[in-house]
Symmetry: C2
Subunit: 778 residues, 2 copies
Amino acid sequence: MIGGSARRVEDPVLLRGRGRFAADSTVSGQLHLRVVRAGVAHGLLRGIDTTAALAVPGVAAVWTAVDVADLPPIDFRLTALDEQRPYRQPVLARTRVRYVGEPVAVVLASSEYVAEDAAELVEVDIDPLPAVLDGSGDVVPWLTAEEASWGAQREIAMGLGSESAEIRLEYGDVAAAFAAAHRVVEVDVTIGRHSGVPLECRGVSARVDPSTGVLVVDGAAKVPFWNRDAIARMIGWNPRDVHLREGHVGGGFGPRGELYPEDVLVPLAAVRLGRPVRWIADRQEDLVSTNHSRDQRHVLRAAVDETGVVTALDGQFWTDQGAYVRTHSATVSSLTASMLPGPYRVASYRVSGRIRMTNKTPAGTYRSPGRYEGTFARERLMDQIANELGLDRLEVRRRNFIPVEEMPYQRPIQAMGTELIYDSGDYALLMDKLEERFELARLRADVQRRRAAGECVGIGYGWFVEKSGLGPYEGAEVEVDTTGAVTVTTGTSSVGQGVDTVLTQVVADVLDVDLDRVRAVRGQTDRFGYGRGAFATRQSVMAGSAVLKAAEAVRVKALTVAAEHFEISPDDLEVVQGGIQVVGNADARISLGEVAALLEPQHANRLGLTPGLLAEEWFHCDHMTYPYGVHVSVVRIDRETGGPTVERYLVGYDVGKALNPTLVEGQITGGVAQGLGGALLEEFRYDEAGQPQASTFMDYLMPTMHEMPPVDVLVTEDAPSPLNPLGIKGAGEGGVTAAAACIASAIDDALQSPGFVTRTPVRPDLIRAHLATTGTHH
Amino acid sequence: MIGGSARRVEDPVLLRGRGRFAADSTVSGQLHLRVVRAGVAHGLLRGIDTTAALAVPGVAAVWTAVDVADLPPIDFRLTALDEQRPYRQPVLARTRVRYVGEPVAVVLASSEYVAEDAAELVEVDIDPLPAVLDGSGDVVPWLTAEEASWGAQREIAMGLGSESAEIRLEYGDVAAAFAAAHRVVEVDVTIGRHSGVPLECRGVSARVDPSTGVLVVDGAAKVPFWNRDAIARMIGWNPRDVHLREGHVGGGFGPRGELYPEDVLVPLAAVRLGRPVRWIADRQEDLVSTNHSRDQRHVLRAAVDETGVVTALDGQFWTDQGAYVRTHSATVSSLTASMLPGPYRVASYRVSGRIRMTNKTPAGTYRSPGRYEGTFARERLMDQIANELGLDRLEVRRRNFIPVEEMPYQRPIQAMGTELIYDSGDYALLMDKLEERFELARLRADVQRRRAAGECVGIGYGWFVEKSGLGPYEGAEVEVDTTGAVTVTTGTSSVGQGVDTVLTQVVADVLDVDLDRVRAVRGQTDRFGYGRGAFATRQSVMAGSAVLKAAEAVRVKALTVAAEHFEISPDDLEVVQGGIQVVGNADARISLGEVAALLEPQHANRLGLTPGLLAEEWFHCDHMTYPYGVHVSVVRIDRETGGPTVERYLVGYDVGKALNPTLVEGQITGGVAQGLGGALLEEFRYDEAGQPQASTFMDYLMPTMHEMPPVDVLVTEDAPSPLNPLGIKGAGEGGVTAAAACIASAIDDALQSPGFVTRTPVRPDLIRAHLATTGTHH
């Protein structure tokens, strides 16, 4: 089972249209919440007149900041920097609005239509102020002393500027390396603002179960336990009296499931008004309210020797954080800084990342946060080194690879609070395998032949190291019932990635039962004690290992009971097809269900065992695992329109051990689509007043089947992780990581203009302008 | 906390009208099930025409026996006798109907109204047969060979008669004792057919959660885990894929929560039709479908010596089982036989109890099953002994009491599968205390004075031993969250008795937290692994002890963590008001919530502990506990109408240790009301064709405030049970046990006609006839 391409156990219910998404949570008598949002990017809140809205029949309440004045700002979940605390977001704007779409009031009404109509009648009086829109420009005043004190929840004497934090990392003697450099190569590149845009908009519903007094929140996947705790803390409840129930989700990707203002306002309203409350975003508000991401400018300088080896990397980057620092605090920038050197040795390294506030939707993590950006910048730099030194692009990379002999390789810095130790990897081997599997020499020759024939076509490369399997822990309970059916309960969360399938496979493997005899329960905070959530590509590694331990403990318990039953040593028994039999005598057999029946409490007590054929186990790990890969793309440019077409896409990725190769390939293919979107299409643009220019799918361009090339994936298992029993490294993000880098490289190659692409998305108009300038326009 | 009269934690939600009863479970799109019931008591099913019903718009399905032919009969839960298996009930009548009210078909429709209208159109063609209505008459043919084989689920060659089983118990040399007797005293008495009639009719709803595939059944309290398993087995599901969720109940008393045909048909329909399904009984069907009870005739003979000591008891009794043997199999009769000797030594004993089938609603347990009946018969016998020997009624009892020196006292027979060992008791002491507390001498003098003055008034007594705390196990998990709030999760069930309150008290006591910081979760099969249920007055004893163990384990774990925190020995710490502090230094304090936070998985792992401030513990016990008591009543007879009025009611009851004295008193007072109902008012009568004559509250007379006397209760704790750490004996049934015996005794006394009352209910017309005969009618 483990390592087999089992079909997704999640799919039957989804394919039959019986999934339970946010909007499926309807309860009679529920109120509908509508958010009144700021229409200007920056301004002082003079007053809000709710009279007209309150007069609408069916309106139960209209709240503004004064009604939620006792709620603290939304807290940090990860990488919390104390200096960023003043920049956190209130659930409703207090004294000023800072981005178009910021919640300033909520209307609660008997139907969505009444709520929306009444919301239009809420009169918000705002004194506009100039919008700050440049994330790498001058630092400007941002918070008054009062604003800073409120957000920090302590007295702060002075106002604060628009740089909320700076991340600095350094090792080695950078100055000396630059002084000794054969050459210094520099790039100045920008990754545009885009984000994960799930098909399903966000939504949340909540109600207090009148008979138990429990606040039941049907909410987002991703981090149910953290969100449960945060909601409880913010509204003053005991966490054990709040049940967060995860349903299905139409896409996760990072933004979904973080704690947003609405996720607090809805439960609060359910508690205060004593009625079920529901909020479902429409697309327009989803695009201005859900975390944006990326939006970094990188200025990188490399000191290189005459062979193209980078002896030092000196980076500066700016992250356009938008209007508030949300749950991630400095996560994206921190990861950018930690992972920037990628698969290369980089003997000395210095980086400064500045997190800048602007009057845009707040930004957070999106699939491969920091790595997509950093990989784009670094790989642009590697191409530039190749160009300036007249070397082959891949040869430069090979010369800089950390060699397999140096694994595990510690870079003397940290990532996500852990020591940055690449646990295993053979980068050159993966490159060799990719060359062979996809006949890259032939592909390159073909591209060259076509270009010689006049086509504007190029090939590009992007190398990267991913990280996965963030700890510190995950737990699992595996239980076999009296019919032999198995339930595996974890604190994990599903954002569509197939976690149920892989956990089910692990259980089925250890207990030798059919997949359809195993049911996975997760994302229910009343069913398990702790769970860290679905982010950082951590679940297969962490929960997979915990499930393995729990299933093995169940196996041992079953063998103990069976040994007692047959009056034989456990060593003379084997687990076969959902039962235990005496080795060499298949007739002496007891099914796991029968073993479970023997473990009813009375008999279990006689055996000196705890009741039930079940076990709970925990897996702890203090280090991340580091999968790695390479993208190769062939891009053709239409000389008339400047439009790039990605013709072919190849990915090589080493995941240590694939629990389910088909799921890994699916993850990678989906990631490529999102990477391509960010490289060529998707961008949250703003006009000079801070008005979002992409708040519908007419303007925010997602890749479709039409834009997607065939994707060929080579999954290798040459570098199992030594950090977990299965050797797994996560596979959730590697499809996206190098996409912008790789496509940019191919466009440069197509245009035969090294260094042309300095920003994403690479829009046709930019290419066409370039074609016009360089005269390569035929 | 333990032993204090805390207010019921269950009440606030109920008093606010926010309880969730069966009928509160409404889901959009649900189907309503209506049962088509037999209108004759006995007959061959010729055919059922569903055509007209199916044609009604909104009808989704009409099922008869052929549609559920693959379902086995409803199984036994307790005291299963193999010979009774052929007499079990099919969920829909197969070849004949055996009682008025028997389900013969079900209609599933879009509303209750449509379902009821369509049910009237189902044409049931029945060939009537004579009804068997005498439970102690001749044995008659009952099952054909085919019927017997189907119910037994194995081939049975011959038909079977109407005696489904005989219970026989014997110890000592009965024949010798009778041969040597000073006198043989005999009674022939009958306890009428009545039952627990909860205010809330039965109901069940079920649906398959489309996203998880779990069958969610909102069903009755009492035995959720057993019912879950039985439903799963009958419809072929894995038990772990069925969640039974207990709501609130408007009364339990024994009948409620057993597995009835509707409890299987509703989940089955939800599974088959893929829609939520709901059934709520109306009063009329509740009174003919829910278990009846009592209905025993006892012929008891005592061999007595010249001092009134019973040297042998020879009993025969007949239980009118009704048309099928339901989940209890022989429980009532078995308990009757085991407990018949009551508090008396009875040196030799022989009993035969015959379980007879009749064409009435099937019977099962009702509060104090077997003891209410047996106590009535035995105490009638004791009064008769006193009368025939010219002794005081109480003196006869005192002379027969098992003396305290002989405790624990083993009677060499079994009860409910356990050795019958009265664990502790001082019956004479309780009698003394009751005499003193309620000044019985003065009361007797007062009655005598009134009678001398011409009033028809008497005093009566009833002594009894109850049983409680049936094992074999119960478990509990106690968990403290990071705010210090505590959740206690058990496999118990609440039928209104206050189990949440007492379990909460135990936790609050051990952890020294306020009651309102503790929340009890029970009756949810997805939240705990096992639970035996709310019957046999077992929950305080079994679950209370398990909770005590779990809370103490949490306490120890908290002390361990705190000791590590303060770098001090656990012996130098104390638990004070929800926190742990250094003895003698209240400033060195850590709250339980803070301890819980320290036990998040990562830190817990560092401490070498499992995550969370929680513990699961189990309490096992192979013996029952035996509380005991005495009832005293004063009854006045209206000489014109023959109507008895219970003027005063006194109960003395020793429960070993009262977890909550107010709840014990409430249990007893409520029990008295039900006991009085059975003694004087309630009866399911049938006409000669087997038509029920009491299917509404116009005919089935429940006691009201008007009939209820003031009840004074003396709860003593003189005989703690040695079988559990708190010394508890259950208090759920002692209010009802001796009521019929005691009231009968008082009526005899009022009428000055010893032995007059030979049957319950003691109807006014019987008394008036007696008054006319004896000329005491003034």
